[in-house]
């Protein structure tokens, strides 16, 4: 479990120069992007699926691997001024979605949280397939 969180955190807080994201070549958009940069592009879409992000907060939501989804939320406590970051890992299993947070117990999602995550994953898939990888999410065919 620790290695998955470590990988997720390195993807979230890597020190690679992200200015290259602003200089995408037009002929082949992802020619020089790393895995982390592709995930960051996906997360830019994923983070917007849950509504507006409060000012001063940072949110990431992305697919880490075929069965793992990562939610990362960073906020500042208004009273203490301290930064608080929470990383949540969601594992998709055949019999449910397991939620795991560092230092917390595992639990299967239920109710509204389960529905919301399911909808978010479907929206993420639709938008990322189209906007990042230029594929029709229903057929897999290249978009014109």
């Amino acid at each position: 479990m620790a290695s998955v969180f470590a990988k997720a955190l390195s993807l979230l807080t890597g020190t690679d120069d992200q200015s290259s994201l602003l200089k995408l070549p037009t002929k082949r958009p992802f020619k020089s992007l790393s895995e982390r940069e592709l995930i960051q592009l996906e997360s830019d879409i994923g983070s917007q699926l849950f509504g507006p992000i409060p000012a001063g907060n940072r949110r990431e939501f992305f697919c880490l691997d075929p069965t793992t989804w990562i939610w990362y939320e960073e906020s500042t406590d208004v009273e203490t001024g301290k930064q608080k970051a929470t990383t949540t890992r969601y594992e998709i299993h055949d019999n449910g979605i397991l939620k795991a947070q560092e230092g917390a117990h595992y639990s299967y999602l239920e109710g509204e949280e389960l529905r919301n995550l399911s909808i978010a994953i479907q929206m993420y898939y639709e938008q990322v397939a189209r906007q990042i990888y230029k594929r029709d999410p229903r057929t897999g065919q290249k978009l014109a």
Binding site: K7, S34, E42, D94, Q122, G140
Partner: protein, 98 residues
């Protein structure tokens, strides 16, 4: 969808090269497991739609048996995204090596 299947079935050596280049511990979604992934999604979607009117058979292994088909759908979506991403990375290596 012949084009799709061909593109998703990457040679093993290129997959390994991608994994080594990017230092990932993640296992690549095997081509045999991703056969016709979009067809699976289409079928899963139809099953999810049907589930709203005809509840699925109860399973003692499933915590939310009425959502079992939806979990399959979500897994397939994650697998497809992961495959698209890895293929994008793999194409960089292929182009750079050429």
């Amino acid at each position: 969808m012949p084009e799709l299947n061909n593109e998703f079935q990457l040679p093993q050596e290129r997959i390994q090269a991608t994994l080594l280049e990017h230092g990932t511990e993640l296992s690549f979604h095997a081509a045999s497991e991703s056969a016709a992934p979009y067809e699976q999604i289409r079928l899963a979607r139809e099953a999810v739609a049907l589930a709203s009117t005809a509840p699925l058979e109860q399973s003692s292994d499933s915590l939310q048996p009425e959502m079992a088909t939806e979990f399959v759908l979500l897994k397939q979506m994650g697998a497809n995204i992961y495959t698209l991403r890895q293929r994008e990375l793999d194409s960089h290596l292929f182009n750079e090596a050429a």
